[in-house]
């Protein structure tokens, strides 16, 4: 249950985070009081926790889709505090639980990839799909082993949830990233698709040495993937194990710990 020493700042760091929902009303919920989290560069962190433990709120605070109460958030040494959500997206890639959020369903696979390829540059009046990049897109799609390289002119809306999520993951990691956020990205998929997406996640994260924060409800994935495991409960970290200790940890231990804290909440 070691929480990082506060002196050294991580590549991704959340410092003295306070967040209260509906302040001043009867529904007031204090989630974070002086919450701290540091992630070193190239670390793959898996986060587990019951509903309402604050896992997703951390992601939302990092991305800026939730306003910060007080505290400091920095990614790659840049202060994120004043940046809007879309400005932070230049450094952050996010894959959502809902497969339809990570791509534009109406556009074709090719057009989606071309848009993502242009991330960070200006979107002007040049042709949307650069013909010379098509072969590169095809080669990236071949990585998925889903046969999508032959369907590049199909709208993404006609793909299955698993295919879309795999594509979203690929698209999201095309541009250079400081932080990859995986927000229960396998939760809406069937077991086979989620295995495929998880395998792909592992491959892409390792290939590009991405600093990654993955929230999951799947304890098996949390143990099997990543260099560090964090369990959250009521807005604080109750378990934080690094690589060495993690290998000794089995699903059973984690389930017991999970049940223990869940019982406190009565669910």
């Amino acid at each position: 249950m070691s929480i990082q020493t506060k002196s050294e700042t991580g590549f991704v760091s959340l410092r003295n985070i306070y967040k209260t929902f509906n302040p001043g009303s009867v529904n007031e919920v204090v989630l974070f009081t002086d919450f701290n989290l540091d992630i070193v560069k190239n670390q793959f962190v898996a986060v587990v926790g019951s509903n309402g433990s604050g896992k997703t709120s951390i992601l939302n605070l990092l991305c800026g889709s939730l306003p910060l109460g007080s505290g400091e958030i920095s990614i790659g040494g840049r202060d994120m505090g004043r940046l809007k959500e879309h400005e932070r997206s230049k450094f952050i890639g996010r894959v959502f639980q809902d497969p339809s959020k990570g791509t534009c369903p109406e556009l074709t696979i090719l057009e989606n990839m071309a848009l993502a390829d242009n991330k960070g540059a200006s979107f002007g009046l040049r042709r949307g799909v650069n013909k010379r990049r098509v072969d590169f897109y095809r080669s990236r799609l071949e990585l998925l082993k889903l046969g999508l390289e032959d369907k590049i002119h199909l709208p993404v809306a006609s793909l299955s949830g698993g295919q879309r999520q795999a594509l979203a993951l690929l698209i999201c990691t095309m541009a250079p990233l400081d932080l990859l956020i995986l927000d229960e990205h396998t939760a809406a998929l069937d077991p086979r698709s989620s295995e495929t997406v998880m395998e792909l996640t592992e491959r892409l994260v390792r290939e590009k040495s991405l600093t990654t924060l993955m929230v999951t409800h799947n304890l098996k994935y949390a143990i099997g993937h990543g260099d560090r495991l964090i369990m959250m409960h009521r807005g604080s970290i109750v378990l934080d194990v690094s690589e060495q200790d993690k290998s000794a940890l089995c699903t059973r231990d984690l389930t017991d710990k999970f049940n223990e804290i869940s019982l406190e909440d009565g669910n």
Binding site: E111, N118, R127
Partner: protein, 304 residues
Amino acid sequence: MDIIIGLIRNVLEEGFIYGIMAVGVYITYRVLELPDLSVDGTFPLGACVTAALIRAGVNPWLACVIAFMCGAAAGSVTGLLHVKLRITDLLSGILVMISMWSVNLAITRGSAVVQFYNEDTIFTSGPAALLKGDLRIWRFLILAAVVCIIVKLLLDFYLKTQSGLLLRSAGDNPQYVISLGKDPGSMKILGLAIGNGCTALSGSVLAQQAQSANIQSGTGMVVMALAAVIIGTNLFRKLRFMKATTAVILGSILYKACLVIAMQLGLPTNYLKLLMAVIFTVALVSNNMLGGRRKKQNVNPNKI
């Protein structure tokens, strides 16, 4: 026979002129999914600006371009109200629509109708002057079609550019635009500018055809444009090779045809707006029914 040909010519002429507006509204209503009511104000804006410019001796083609820009500026105001001040899309449109009334009166210096007979228009000067003899009676149709098709081709081109793809994503999945590091709000403003620019251009061409601008000409334009968009995109949805912009122009022609047929069958002019509303209602209802069916087909439980 001449009467029928005359009617068809009339339907096509007006269909193409209103088609310019319809492709613009297609951008706001179908691509961005914003019901934009400011169209009722920007249509006469285009007409009034054109009348004022042509009376001042400006080249009619240049007047068309300036009308487009004025419409785009008004559309950006709708967008800014909606995106920056967080006023709902419908109300932002209404605010601009109502304020355009005063703007238009200011442009026409207080008169409700501005005529510019005997002045050069796109139908009488420049390339149109080359149409001689028998072609003269077709010149309205030819020029309206040319302008409409140019606008359509430019929009088709735009929707395939990087900015165009981003605009389409902004309507479909704003979160995706955010993940690309861009603000979907700016794309909405841009889309509203394009939509209202086309609407003002449509008003400009209509004013030049009639050689007068009427500040009341905007009433019912939202209904007409939306009906053209919905009729066009629904009827020709099955035809995959057809671009949506083409479908919308055909929708506009069909809609005009319905109105002309009703008038020829003896419907008094006073009931025209009522008929417009009825046709629009039928289009909306059939859209919902067809849309509902389409949705069910899309959901395949094995695929999720």
